[in-house]
Symmetry: C2
């Protein structure tokens, strides 16, 4: 058997949104993310060393030919969930920033390892989490 | 206005699965991921510096009390998509490894920046991508 090389990390995390313009505006204006590439169909935000990909609902559920091949279909419906890494001090700042922008923090959790999470929603009800270190064995 | 601290990265990527036992077996045996925490409801795999979280369909759609607070509901239905980072050489090895295990590569893409992707499905039809550097401005 061919040995199993270790996966180095997760480079793309994808969510679906109903209105790309509204979703893009939300993520750009709140987080200041750089848009690396975009179309009506998708938007790729630079998030540290990784990428948050937004797909317009119903545009990725068919095979998508590109120059070098075909991207297979995928599509989810419902509230997705993902977590952004911030420091403990930055989490405090984000709490104030969300309040200033009128974004309701739906929940706060203090984890047994000492990490803290703030949860709130994007305009499509996706569950965004900001979390400081002290939650998992590797974070 | 409070200044906007930069998000450091994406630390948790979440997908939903119908049968946790089957899904966990797939990801553990194929990728050799370490299970950091698990229950009937979820499984947290260490993936480099990040976490892939599997949730059993229909168990995360209600608020979940934990010791330090409440995790808000989330749930998606349908084929999610995410990408694991591998080197160019490792991608070749993965191609052989998938073939040996009888996992069908649904598509291969060569990106204009030189990166390459292999796409295949997990047992719940989630679209798994293995991608080598040379796809985005930051990867």
């Amino acid at each position: 058997m061919t040995p199993n090389p270790a996966i180095r990390g997760i480079v793309e995390t994808c969510i679906n949104v109903s209105e790309m313009r509204r979703a893009r505006q939300f993520y750009e204006s709140l987080f200041g993310f750089e848009v690396m590439e975009h179309s009506d169909r998708f938007c790729a935000f630079r998030v540290g060393p990784g990428v948050l990909l937004l797909f317009t609902q119903g545009t990725s559920d068919q095979p998508m030919p590109v120059t070098g091949g075909v991207i297979p279909p995928h599509n989810t419906v419902g509230a997705a969930h993902f977590a952004f890494a911030v420091s403990r001090e930055e989490l405090e700042i984000w709490g104030r920033r969300l309040s200033e922008r009128g974004i309701k923090v739906e929940s706060e959790v203090v984890w047994t390892r000492g990490g803290r999470s703030l949860y709130f929603r994007d305009p499509d009800d996706n569950l965004v989490e900001l979390v400081s270190p002290g939650i998992w064995a590797n974070y």
